[in-house]
Symmetry: C2
Subunit: 166 residues, 2 copies
Amino acid sequence: MARGPDAAETRFDGRMIAVTVERWGDARREIVERADSVAIAAVIDDAIVLVRQFREAARRELLELPAGTVDDGEEPLAAAQRELAEETGLRGGRWTPWPTVFTTPGFCRERVHLFLAEDLEEGEASPTDGEAIELVQIPLDDVPDRVGEIEDAKTLAGLLLLLRRR
Amino acid sequence: MARGPDAAETRFDGRMIAVTVERWGDARREIVERADSVAIAAVIDDAIVLVRQFREAARRELLELPAGTVDDGEEPLAAAQRELAEETGLRGGRWTPWPTVFTTPGFCRERVHLFLAEDLEEGEASPTDGEAIELVQIPLDDVPDRVGEIEDAKTLAGLLLLLRRR
């Protein structure tokens, strides 16, 4: 059953995240508030399409599933289709909902909604934040050998889910 | 190559997390600082041992791999062995490092170090934070049918990694 805190105080209120200090009985919890996100295992021509981009929090480039934030009031599927089109130009196709999971439930309310997208059509990408995004196609046959270089949890889960479908 | 921010200002400095607003060229990033964590796929008697506990950030109970925070100066393997013993009483055994992944690299510096632990010995648990932790053993044969109920990213990745070993 869902429960809520006995008291909560916002201690940081930023553009993308907020921090609330909550009281749960005798316990004090520092909680990061953050909109949900989406991530897509996009398959085209027997390959999965990943994005390589610099991640400030990681201090380096990471190879990840295309992903993004769910806008206020937006359905996760619509957000996933929008983000995939923006980052890769891929659109249309057949979409399957995959698990929705908390990214780091010890202190953060964010969940990531995973999706599988197949039979996509190619189009023009339109990245929004001015960041350089490199598209990387990995043939499905090569995925087992490439899993070890993944440094992002949602991408690891997505590639492993993909391998289970084969 | 690793890079760093041009400027950074701490805006929240808590016990478990901190928030830094960083400037990277023209970009402004809100970054959560957080110690790394560990999570363990612990196999005993052809079953994996999970923990069910209330997670304030999720507002409900989650079923997860045993996990915890790496202490300052501690090696991830030592932290994993300590956390597993505390939460489940399991110790000894044969340990295999699994991938280390960022939990949510869009805004958070935390990585989780995954481990496989086998041939463990049973002992007394000693949970530290007064929280009720229920141990749940899932036979390896049942894991494929139980993956769909997992709501935590590291646990999803861990169960899928385990299934690949069979």
